[in-house]
């Protein structure tokens, strides 16, 4: 009965989108690509969140704060490196490759280190106390949000992509062209996914991580230094949040509200996909990205600002059928 209702709702949504898309295929292509590229960004952010949660059972409430912090760090760095050329608000950006790549690497690493320090200082000796760890990361997110406001101000900033990147690419359908950097983000997300898959499935470190997700006490009893593995995973998770922050800061912008926004995105992607599952994170990111971009366009006229309800509906539908998320397993 419940599954029938869910299936009927899904069929209606697909039919409605197909009908609207057939009316204006040009818009449909752009909206679909927007959804896909957004999903790429969401996946990068959420995969870090799910890595930390899956291994350590830590809900890192500061994940969105790390995302935002990396965006601001990278912007400041790019501003200094290019002498203000790349970040000027007017007209053409003159960012060399280094003016973008160095901030990307440095900001992500810096945020990774912040995550690592947080874990070592505050979380490590509270292992197993999930709520307490969540509260600790909430406190840290409060501090980061306030300090970011003090140092970077409340203005939305935009990183400039390297000027060797073309502005847009020709799609060869309906004579459409599409911003190149968004495609680049999608490719980067796929690369991140492939690297994660290769590390998790093919290397010794990945084997330890997978074993740790299932039974960390047993792993530790086998003589593996699980604390080292935890530290590495926390660094990697925070690093991914930072990578997302720089990509997002270039693709969209970085703003003071991003911490809440991307915490929500990471939460929803991971709740939908199932906690601790990378495949789930990919599917969750895809669903959320598509719902986000389709909802803004294909809701009936005058109701497009209700698109938040669609995300809520997505969450409710998934939880009604699978309380642990699409790919979730009981802990």
């Amino acid at each position: 009965m419940l599954r029938g209702l869910v299936a009927a709702a899904l069929a209606f949504v697909v039919a409605w989108v197909a009908y609207k898309a057939s009316q204006d295929p040009r818009v449909a292509v752009v909206v679909g690509l927007n959804g896909l590229t957004l999903a790429g960004l969401y996946f990068v952010v959420a995969s870090g969140f799910t890595l930390i949660f899956g291994l350590m059972r830590v809900v890192n409430m500061a994940h969105g704060s790390l995302y935002m912090l990396a965006g601001f760090f990278a912007f400041e760095l790019q501003d200094r490196l290019s002498g203000g050329e790349a970040t000027s608000a007017f007209g053409s950006s003159e960012a060399g490759v280094g003016d973008w790549v160095i901030p990307l690497v440095v900001a992500s690493l810096a945020v990774g280190v912040i995550g690592l320090v947080t874990q070592q200082l505050f979380l490590r000796w509270n292992q197993g106390q999930e709520l307490r760890q969540a509260l600790i990361t909430i406190a840290i997110s409060v501090i980061i949000a306030d300090q970011a406001l003090a140092h970077f101000g409340g203005v939305a900033q935009e990183l400039a992509p390297p000027s060797v990147f073309p502005e847009s690419v020709d799609l060869h359908v309906y004579g459409l062209s599409y911003p190149f950097f968004r495609i680049f983000v999608l490719l980067a997300a796929i690369a991140v996914g492939l690297i994660l898959w290769a590390v998790i499935k093919q290397t010794r470190y990945g084997m330890i991580v997978r074993a740790g997700v299932d039974d960390r006490h047993m792993v530790s009893a086998l003589g593996i230094n699980i604390q080292l593995v935890f530290a590495g995973a926390f660094f990697a998770g925070a690093f991914l949040a930072g990578l997302g922050g720089v990509l997002g800061g270039t693709m969209i912008s970085v703003d003071k509200g991003n911490d809440t926004q991307y915490l929500l995105i990471a939460l929803i992607v991971v709740i939908i996909g199932g906690m601790g599952s990378f495949g789930g994170a990919a599917v969750g990111a895809l669903l959320l990205g598509l719902v986000d971009s389709l909802g803004d366009v294909y809701l009936p006229e005058g109701y497009t600002n209700y698109s938040v309800l669609l995300i809520f509906a997505l969450l409710v539908l998934v939880l009604a059928v699978r309380p642990l998320g699409l790919f979730g397993r009981p802990a």
Partner: protein, 353 residues
């Protein structure tokens, strides 16, 4: 009166006396900006403490539920912004509470099969979604919110007659506190605590565990809704900013400072936080970096005393009592101690090496 009863009841009597004569003791500004605000924030926090301490559901969705009640109430009366409907403020208040309970039950039913940290994440996601909903939907609110809300005449003008709203908030707080304490002693309340301690065993005993959790969540939504309506009466407005993530965190700060297991801790935490807020904002040293200070205090409390101020108070009174009456003291302080693995915020879980 024996010594240990005096230690236990003495402070309570002082609090009751101070509250009864609060409008004579405090200035109008302090009464409204600190005491009344702490009363309604305490009601919001007690809904969280009730769910966490007695049902084992740590919910971060209480701010969203009080926002639902507040926005529904504000939309159904004459106001600037929001919908055009203008009903009697009492009817609107009732509708606000009903909306919060209905949504609370629905969300409780959806999330009732998730436990511990999963439940916390789902309620947090819900809370942020409600914030974005009211921020985007200009027909109901938009970023400016709903202003100059029409209030029931008994409230008067909260700025000029702060004592009225103070006594209303005090009465509601008292009813909520006594009511929740009563419920925890009824068979339903005992079933809630059974669900908290061992859901599997409760299911084996024939209880409908998801239904019990949904009912508890709806009850928590009613309490949160009361706080939401009072907050609208106090502010005469409501905006998405008042139900943002930072408000959720403030509520959590209050609950944690007060201690997550004891109902009265909600109001203790609320008074401490609002008084601290009021005091810190006046200090030049802190300036506008108020939230950093709050964050550091919150972090320190979580790290040092998981039981919050009421936890410190509890161990203090237990120690005092044991000096006078060593035998009985130990049993007195154990009321709501959640034992569920994973939802346990205190540091007392055995550490696995």
């Amino acid at each position: 009166m024996t010594a240990e009863r005096a230690i236990r009841l003495g402070p309570a009597a002082v609090v009751v006396l101070v509250l009864a004569f609060a409008p004579l003791i405090f200035s109008d500004f302090y009464l409204s900006a600190v005491i009344t605000k702490a009363l309604w924030l305490g009601i919001a926090a007690v809904s969280l403490i009730f769910l966490a301490g007695y049902v084992g559901m740590v919910s971060l969705g209480q701010v969203a539920l009080y926002g639902i009640a507040g926005f529904t109430m504000a939309n159904f009366v004459a106001a600037d912004g929001g919908s055009e409907i203008a009903l009697n403020p009492w009817v609107a208040t009732f509708l606000g509470l009903a909306a919060a309970v209905a949504l609370g039950f629905f969300l409780g039913a959806i999330a009732s099969r998730s436990y511990g940290i999963y439940f916390l994440m789902i309620t947090l996601a819900f809370s942020v979604l409600v914030y974005f909903f009211f921020a985007q939907v200009t027909q109901l609110s938009g970023f400016g919110g709903v202003n100059n809300v029409d209030l029931p005449s008994v409230v008067g003008n909260p700025l000029q007659q702060p004592a009225r709203l103070f006594y209303i908030a005090l009465a509601v707080s008292a009813v909520v506190y006594v009511g929740l304490r009563y419920i925890t002693r009824t068979p339903l309340g005992l079933a809630f605590q059974g669900v908290r301690d061992d859901p599997a065993r409760m299911r084996a005993l024939g209880y409908n565990v998801p239904l019990l959790r949904a009912v508890a969540f709806a009850l928590g939504a009613l309490v949160a809704g009361l706080a939401g309506v009072l907050s609208v009466w106090w502010n005469t407005r409501i905006s998405p900013g008042s139900i943002s993530l930072s408000q959720t965190i403030d509520l959590l700060v209050i609950a944690v400072i007060g201690g997550l297991y004891r109902l009265e801790g909600a109001w203790v935490g609320a008074v401490v936080v609002t008084a601290l807020d009021n005091w810190l904002r006046g200090l030049d040293v802190v300036g506008s970096r108020f939230n950093t200070v709050i964050g550091v205090i919150f972090l320190a409390i979580v790290l040092i005393s998981p039981g919050g101020l009421m936890g410190i108070w509890g161990s203090l009174t237990t120690r005092l009592q044991s000096r006078f009456a060593p035998s009985e003291a130990a049993e007195e302080e154990r009321e709501a101690v959640p034992l569920t693995e994973g939802t346990h915020p205190a540091g007392e879980r055995p550490v696995v090496p």
